[in-house]
């Protein structure tokens, strides 16, 4: 009968089963190890970055900024920005509105070394710091004007410059309403904030966000429901710089004063 198994068959099946189990246990990991080393030889060890799965922005909470300038300093170190005070990917401005409603703005050395106290504190109506950087506009005028397409918007929403392609005409610098670009004095190509693209594509935070002692800057996904940036956008009132120019910035400010330009 078909369902009757004799003893010899039974023993044989048990032995075969045990042998294949042993083989699988020993050889399986060996094979996957071999595969892994093959993969390591052909691809970088970092997990593949898929730009289509991200859409980045940055929140800046103005009432948190203490004007220490650590962000601007960290940016220069991380991105090899020339140390001279004429080149900035990010900087901090101080606004002092006096009792006569006169507005005084300064950013000595980009605010890199902090600020000296204003002359007469009792005459101040209100005062605050504004960190500035490339706004990574959704509708970037710099990208529009670049004659060779060297500056472009990536799928993850970051505006980048291909410095090996840039002709150095500086039209993008003229077209940026925020003064966020400069001509790199050594590379002779346009340079600007990249949200530390070399870091964010590895899952790290931009250097300025990383070092900020007051968590003024919130970096993350604009579209991700559970992201800290999304939470900020949900809880706070959001403003952008120069909205009338229709550049649609992705640097989003909270408590932005109307005097800030």
């Amino acid at each position: 009968m078909a369902d009757k198994i004799n003893r010899r068959d039974f023993v044989r099946k048990v032995v075969e089963g045990t042998a294949s189990a042993v083989m699988l246990t020993v050889c399986g990991p060996m094979r996957s190890l071999a595969n892994a080393s093959e993969e390591a030889a052909t691809e970088p060890s970092a997990p593949a970055y898929d730009a289509t799965q991200h859409y980045y922005g940055m929140g800046v909470q103005i009432d948190r900024c203490i004007g220490c300038g650590k962000c601007a300093d960290a940016c220069k170190s991380e991105n090899n920005v020339p140390r001279e005070p004429f080149y900035f990917r990010t900087w901090v401005e101080r606004y002092v509105i006096d009792a006569e409603r006169e507005v005084h703005v300064d950013s000595p050395g980009g605010g890199l070394h902090g600020f000296s106290p204003p002359a007469a504190e009792e005459d101040i109506l209100r005062s605050f710091f504004v960190p500035k950087l490339c706004n990574h506009c959704d509708h970037p005028p710099c990208v529009q004007v670049c004659p060779v397409g060297a500056t472009f918007k990536t799928q993850d929403g970051v505006v980048l410059v291909d410095q090996d392609y840039c002709v150095g005409c500086r039209y993008c610098i003229q077209a940026c309403p925020y003064g966020a670009r400069y001509l790199h004095p050594e590379k002779h190509a346009a340079d600007k904030c990249t949200f530390c693209y070399q870091r964010i594509t590895k899952g790290m935070l931009p250097a300025c966000v990383e070092v900020c002692p007051t968590q003024t800057r919130v970096f993350g996904e604009i579209n991700g429901i559970s992201s800290p940036l999304h939470r900020l956008m949900k809880m706070e009132e959001i403003q952008v710089l120069k909205p009338e120019l229709n550049t649609e910035p992705k640097v989003l400010y909270t408590k932005l004063d109307g005097e800030v330009r």
């Binding site: 900035f88 950013s107 309403p177």
Partner: protein, 404 residues
């Protein structure tokens, strides 16, 4: 590099108010002032030439060929300051190979090539073809070959062939007028379309550029016609001088009206930027805008031309008035370009402060280089009139300069 940083550090002291820290370095130097000045002369000279051909203004006949060769000389030099100004000049051809179709600047190469190859060179070739054939036939050796090559090997100078040349010139001029408008209107659009800059961002800028181009072109041809006549020991023809002065006056009135409209419009609308722009005009641009561009470069020559044209002065005196007016206009138009290009970079986009521009003497973007780019077109012009003499009275004689 260190010298450059020292220059920038020295500029910090000249800042008034607040500017973004990246704005200390002024991006577009005097070389970019020269570019719209030269293309303006090209467009203006061509439009003047077309008056004679298409609108049949007989009095301007002596200036027709001068204007064409002058336009070509300036057009050859026009892209040079741009090229010299690039951070990576070796990559400039990428603008033609991989242009960004959304970029106003990327179209420059195409507009330029269209104008150079399809309008100017073609028109000059058809206009001079019969002469080149004749010059080739009348000479020997290398010179014969040279003119034969310039005529692209053509030999037919029958009435029929010459009639075709005339027809071709007429057609090209018809295409050329809108092309000249596009060439310089386009240069204006490069500035006028920058919404980040309230000094530039104006729909009137391309039109103002165009009319100031016509003004500068006519003034330049007037000067060249006058000087070349003197050098050749001839009296400049008075009907021609009068006609040039008339057109110059009309163009100047139109140009001044448009610029005034732009000015009044800004003042009346009084937008956010008006405070800083007013400050700019009364401080950094006072000399170059109020004094040189408006007073010396526009109002004074306007009055002088009107007086010279419609008064009963002796011809000699009239000519001198025209020539001085034309010189003042050249200075005025150069100031116009300066005030647009440099002026547009002297205030911060924060609208809270003014910055400074220090013109260097030497170096790639210095005054000497700029003067070089301004002299070069005249050297090319001298060469061109040796090869292709534009004088009506010498049409039959072989150019003496090209001796083999």
């Amino acid at each position: 590099m260190q010298a450059h940083f020292a220059e920038l550090a020295a500029l910090v002291g000249q800042i008034s108010g607040f500017i973004y820290p990246n704005e200390i370095e002024l991006q577009w130097s005097i070389l970019i002032v020269i570019y719209p000045y030269l293309t303006g002369l090209v467009a203006g000279a061509f439009i003047l030439a077309s008056l004679e051909k298409v609108f049949n203004v007989k009095e301007l006949q002596p200036t027709y060929r001068l204007a064409l060769l002058c336009a070509l000389s300036f057009l050859i030099v026009a892209p040079m300051p741009l090229q010299a100004h690039l951070g990576h000049p070796e990559r400039s051809l990428e603008m033609l190979m991989t242009p960004n179709p959304n970029s106003a600047m990327a179209m420059f190469g195409f507009v330029y090539l269209w104008y150079l190859l399809l309008v100017l060179l073609l028109e000059i070739w058809f206009d001079f073809r019969a002469d080149m054939v004749r010059w080739s036939q009348q000479s020997r050796g290398l010179k014969k070959f040279f003119y034969s090559a310039l005529a692209l090997g053509t030999t037919d100078i029958s009435d029929e062939a010459v009639a075709f040349d005339h027809k071709a010139v007429y057609t090209i001029t018809l295409v050329g007028i809108p092309s000249a408008f596009i060439l310089h209107g386009y240069v204006g659009f490069i500035f006028g379309s920058i919404k980040a800059n309230p000094w530039w961002s104006s729909v009137l800028i391309p039109i103002v550029f165009l009319f100031s181009a016509i003004v500068s072109g006519i003034a330049m041809i007037l000067l060249i016609y006058y000087i070349s006549s003197l050098i050749r020991g001839q009296q400049p023809k008075m009907p021609c001088m009068d006609k040039l002065a008339s057109f110059l006056l009309y163009a100047l009135i139109l140009d001044f009206s448009l610029e005034s409209l732009d000015f009044i419009h800004r003042l009346y609308e009084s937008e956010e930027s008006i405070h800083i722009l007013s400050e700019l005009i009364v401080s950094k641009l006072f000399l170059s805008l109020t004094i040189v561009q408006i007073m010396l470069g526009t109002i004074l020559p306007l009055l002088m031309l009107a007086f010279g044209r419609y008064s009963r002065l002796p011809a000699e005196l009239k000519r001198i008035i025209y020539v001085i007016s034309a010189m003042l206009i050249q200075v005025g138009i150069f100031s116009t370009r300066w005030n647009v290009v440099i002026g547009g970079q002297l205030f911060s986009k924060s609208l809270r402060g003014l910055t400074a521009y220090k013109l260097e003497m030497g170096g790639q973007e210095g005054l000497l280089a700029a003067i070089g780019f301004l002299i070069l077109p005249f050297l090319i012009f001298l060469l061109l009139i040796k090869i292709l003499p534009p004088w009506e009275d010498e049409k039959e004689t072989v150019p003496a300069a090209i001796e083999a």
